[in-house]
């Protein structure tokens, strides 16, 4: 909506779009063409939107991260499905002299029941309305009863009489009303297909009754069709007069924002929604809304926001479309709505617009004046309303109320208060040694701190800007530094808490200075060797992995570990946890041998303590990873299997965590070419992932990729390809089309194409994979790029494009030489491929290719040397390289023989 004022353009367009979507697709072009002639710009936008609607499988169609179950319906998730709640308050059996029967209806203010006199005094059937808001103080009750007296005196044939009333159990006020058989006015008009004039007459009658009430100084405040009934013989009956007033909390106060929640937003005047003083003008407005609805078949504004602040914002941005225009925009534009639009254009438009002016002072001065104008219209006399402007923007109104609209800022603020208090308390509960001692004092300080923070982020100070959670955190951190300097222990705990929140939010760079400061304070106040200091070290050390500050993290965690060992003894769960955290960091740093020792320690403590649970199951899995890193495949295998066993027993066979050791086990077995054994765990992991994360999650893509790649390795390409294609789709949808992960299933797909002797198809997918990797590593220097180039080279080679292939292999080799140790498998593989390429070039060029022969031989030889260095004698790679060299040595002989037998 680039140029439109917010709201107006879109709402109009939205309604057009909704209409368009209701049409059969075949009829849309015709309608668009018509619109094109009348409103070309709108038609263009509409066409854009129709194309936007046609987008399939958008990420919007699944909830943010699909839950269990493929239909995206979280309710199907079993354990997390909240039951449907139909519950309403159970009514008391009796109220005063009335026996309560079945429920007749339910509205914003309360529930209506049929009731009859139970004391046998006389027979009388009534409707009893029990209100939602309790009046539970003696003062409120007195006021309620006084109000009820006033209402009972309101005697008008068109106003439903209040027969009785009181305060029931739980302080809920109730009224007994005359029972009326009637339909809401709009329903009555629609059902009876009433003419425009008839509708106007009905509303005029309503106005007369409302005017009578106003003369007795009773404002209705909640006029809406469900309160405006029409009996079968066509007489209007008004319900609920003055009840909104009864519900007001404080008589001295104008209707507050809180009070406005009792109203029906669609019919409430802007000043009610904004909590300004209420006068009879609110009833004028509501009658204008009802008239609009009677004429156009819809309320002018839908206003479904539930929060007062949101509603206020909405109201300030509304622009009224005259009822006749609304009719013309209707979907099924038929003769009837055209005729209606003609009838409404002019007087009735003007009357409605005047009743609906946002400024009370610009509306009709009274309901009587509105009634009089309707009467004039019915008599075909000039109406008063047509002297003013017909269109009115809310702009000026909104400007006057800007202050009110900024109320959202408080929200972000309280949010922070909540977080840090709880965190603080959680930490205390966790058993920080001196926490109990300082708790009383700190909680006082914490409350002061929060109070201050509230002032800091007062909308007045922030000029109404809405603060994000992060900004509030930042404000909090500054405040801690400055104002809590006198109380370093509290300061440290709060900093630790905020730092942990930042870290958990992924705000690693922001978290670090806070945690550093907390550690510094703890060191100085508890000493460097205290458990409190260890806690800060532990938190900061666990963060450092994310910041690539491995060495520092290692020191911190080692020190925390040492303190805990000394203070808690070597066999303590906290010590084991420190070992595990250190192990994770070390493995991340590539120091798997050291990581292995840490996990061994953690697991030994767990065994000594007799612990077997989800946590130790995870440690077993991590232990397996480091064992695999150091080449102990059989140790890794049994550790994964133990992890699976422990998790199954302690966390359940369908625990999502199981997917990790299952996938790790499967991939390990795949590496050992034990394809048959690898398949079951990978299939099980896939099923778990599917059930846990759903079919749109990146983890599902990964599980598909694992299984697909396994099947490709086992030579089952027809089965592998659908899985790999799906993995590409899942990754693309979940991570965007440029994520480097997509390259993995693509490469496996390409390998399948190569196996099936379709090099040009392989080349296409390999090139796509390479492009993705080049995007992820723009300097072009990373190993995955070398791998990608090598794959592209093999496809080119198979296509006979030797020069292009040679270039790819040389690039790949150069990259790997820069990145890796000289004796690395990828280098050897690139050398083999390059040598193969050169060999063929030499073969093609004949004697002129002496250079190729020499270099090919050198490359094969180097590759063989690397393989011999890496693998035991007899390894397939060594055989492969040896065979290639032998073949190369035989080439000149073969060529010489060829030339001898076929002389030119």
């Amino acid at each position: 909506m680039p140029s439109d004022p917010p709201g107006t353009g879109w709402r109009h367009l939205r309604d057009l779009l909704a209409c368009e979507l209701e049409l059969p697709a075949g009829e849309r072009p015709e309608r668009l063409r018509q619109l094109e002639i009348a409103q070309p710009a709108i038609a263009r936008e509409l066409a854009d939107l129709l194309r936007a609607d046609a987008v399939e499988s958008s990420f919007l169609d699944r909830a943010a991260s699909p839950v269990i179950g493929s239909d995206g319906d979280p309710a199907s998730g079993g354990e997390v499905a909240p039951e449907r709640l139909e519950g309403v308050l159970r009514p008391p059996a009796r109220l005063g002299p009335w026996r309560i029967h079945e429920q007749l209806g339910q509205g914003g203010m309360g529930t209506v029941y049929r009731a009859e006199r139970a004391d046998g005094a006389f027979e009388q059937d009534v409707a009893i309305k029990i209100l939602r808001r309790s009046v539970d103080t003696p003062d409120l009750q007195r006021r309620f009863l006084r109000e009820r007296q006033l209402l009972a005196q309101l005697d008008h044939p068109a106003i439903v009489k209040i027969i009785d009333g009181g305060v029931g159990p739980e302080g809920l006020p109730w009224f007994a009303l005359e029972r009326v058989a009637g339909l809401p006015i709009t329903r009555f008009a629609a059902d009876g297909k009433l003419s425009t004039r008839h509708r106007v007459r009905l509303l005029r009658d309503v106005c007369a009754a409302v005017d009578a009430a106003h003369r007795r100084l009773v404002v209705h405040r909640d006029l809406k069709p469900s309160n405006l009934l029409v009996t079968p013989d066509g007489r209007v009956k008004l319900l609920d007069f003055g009840i909104a007033k009864v519900l007001e909390v404080d008589e001295g106060e104008a209707l507050t924002q809180a009070g406005s929640r009792l109203l029906t937003p669609q019919y409430a005047a802007p000043e009610q929604i904004l909590g300004e003083p209420v006068t009879t003008a609110v009833d004028v407005y509501a009658l204008g809304v009802v008239l609009y609805e009677l004429l156009a078949g819809a309320v002018p504004f839908e206003r479904a926001t539930t929060t007062p602040a949101g509603l206020a914002l909405e109201v300030a941005n509304e622009t009224l479309i005259p009822p006749s225009r609304r009719l013309l925009a209707e979907c099924a534009m038929n003769l009837d709505s055209r005729r209606r639009a003609r009838e409404v254009t002019g007087d009735l438009d003007a009357i409605v617009m005047k009743a609906l002016r946002p400024e009370p002072a610009e509306r009709y001065a009274s309901v009587a004046a509105l009634a009089a104008d309707l009467e004039r219209h019915l008599l075909h006399l000039p109406v008063e309303a047509r002297s003013g402007n017909r269109r009115y923007r809310f702009g000026r109104f909104a400007r006057r109320h800007r202050g009110l609209l900024a109320g959202g800022a408080g929200l972000a603020l309280t949010l922070f208060a909540g977080i840090s208090t709880t965190l603080y308390e959680a930490r205390v509960a966790r058993g920080e040694r001196d926490a109990a001692r300082v708790q009383a004092e700190t909680s006082r300080r914490v409350s002061e701190f929060m109070a201050h923070l509230f002032q800091q982020a007062d909308p007045a100070r922030t000029r109404g800007a809405l603060l994000t959670a992060r900004e509030v955190l930042a404000a909090g951190a500054t405040h801690i530094e400055r104002d809590l300097a006198g109380d370093p222990k509290v300061q440290a705990s709060l900093l630790l808490a905020i730092g942990a929140v930042d870290r958990d939010l992924g705000l690693f760079d922001e978290a670090r200075p806070l945690l550093e400061r907390a550690l510094d304070l703890r060191r100085r106040n508890f000493g460097p060797e205290d458990l409190a200091t260890a806690e800060a070290q532990f938190e900061l050390g666990s963060l450092d992995r994310y910041l690539d500050k491995i060495r520092q993290g290692r020191e911190l965690l080692s020190h925390a570990l040492a303190i805990r060992e000394r203070e808690l003894g070597p066999r303590h769960l906290e010590v084991a946890r420190a070992h595990s955290a250190l192990g994770i960091l070390l493995r991340f740093d590539g120091d798997s041998p050291a990581a292995r020792r840490e996990f061994e320690s953690a697991l030994a403590i767990a065994a000594a303590l007799g612990l077997e649970n989800e946590e130790t199951g995870r440690w077993q899995n991590s232990y397996g990873l480091v064992l695999a890193d150091v080449g102990d495949n059989s140790g890794a295998e049994s550790s994964y299997r133990r992890s699976i066993d422990v998790l199954q027993r302690t966390a359940g066979a369908d625990n999502p965590l199981l997917a990790l050791p299952l996938d790790n086990l499967g991939m390990l077995l795949r590496g050992e070419e034990r394809f048959g054994e690898a398949e079951p765990p990978l299939r099980r992991a896939l099923a778990l992932v599917q059930r846990t994360w759903g079919e749109h999650h990146v983890q599902f893509g990964t599980a598909l990729n694992s299984l697909g790649t396994l099947l490709m390795d086992s030579g089952r390409c027809p089965e592998a390809i659908p899985l790999l294609r799906r993995a590409v789709d899942v990754y693309t949808a979940a991570l965007g089309p440029e994520h480097r992960f997509i390259a993995y299933p693509l490469i496996s797909q390409g390998d399948c194409e190569m196996n099936s002797h379709r090099p040009s198809e392989a080349l296409t997918v390999y090139r796509r994979a390479l492009a993705l990797r080049a995007g992820a590593h723009p300097d072009g220097e990373d190993e995955p790029i070398a791998e990608g180039r090598d794959r592209v080279g093999t496809a080119l080679l198979a296509l006979g494009k030797l020069e292009e292939a040679e270039e790819e292999f040389r690039q790949a080799l150069a990259i790997s030489r820069r990145n890796l140790e000289p004796a690395s498998p990828p280098i050897a593989e690139h050398l083999m491929d390059l040598a193969d390429c050169l060999e063929r070039a030499w073969n093609r060029h004949g004697r002129a290719g002496g250079r190729e022969l020499v270099e090919s031989r050198a490359d094969y030889t180097e590759a063989l040397g690397i393989f011999r260095h890496l693998y035991p004698a007899g390894h397939t790679s060594i055989t492969r390289a040896t065979a290639a060299l032998a073949r190369l040595e035989l080439r000149p002989l073969a060529q010489a023989r060829d030339q001898l037998s076929h002389p030119r």
């Binding site: 939107l49 519950g87 406005s260 007062p308």
Partner: protein, 205 residues
Amino acid sequence: MSHDRDEQEPAGVASQRSEVTLLLDEWSRGDAGAFDRLMPLVYRELKAIAARQMRREPAGLTLQATAVVHEAYLRLVDQSRVQWKNRGHFFAVAAQAMRRILVDHARARQAAKRGGGHAAPSLEDPPAVESGVSPLELLALDLALDRLAAADPDQARIVELRFFAGLTLEETAEVEERSLAAVNRDWRTARAFLHRELGMAAPAP
């Protein structure tokens, strides 16, 4: 909210539950302040549940936004006492809180741009996309939702309820106290709006 610990269910869950239920009551009875008091409770619980999921080092299970919201509902709202209307209010708060959590996180991930390393895809180390949506998509959605809210707050809220709290159309209609047809219409047109804003529509022929 440490990474390596499992917190027991706090003893205060029951009292928290009745507090939330009470605040929902107060809100539906018109106390606007109840919303502001509710927000931190809900946000906090969402974060705690999310942290429990994500804390599983080294597994790094990613966060399932909608599951988190529903779990929070079960933990925070007294099922026997809540009125259905209040249930709707809860989801309105939770969807908003969830949106904020995910957007904050996505922003952080974008800023950090970490994880572009070499590792092949593994369940061990999934990229940090907690919503099943890429951080960039999420941030773009956040901005587009703001624009939608400026044009029509109802529609933006429906998207929040559907996308961030994972409500079905039927549940959304129930929560919004509107007809299924009206909610469906608003959803479908909002979806088109967002697709257009996010540049997902096919170009004009």
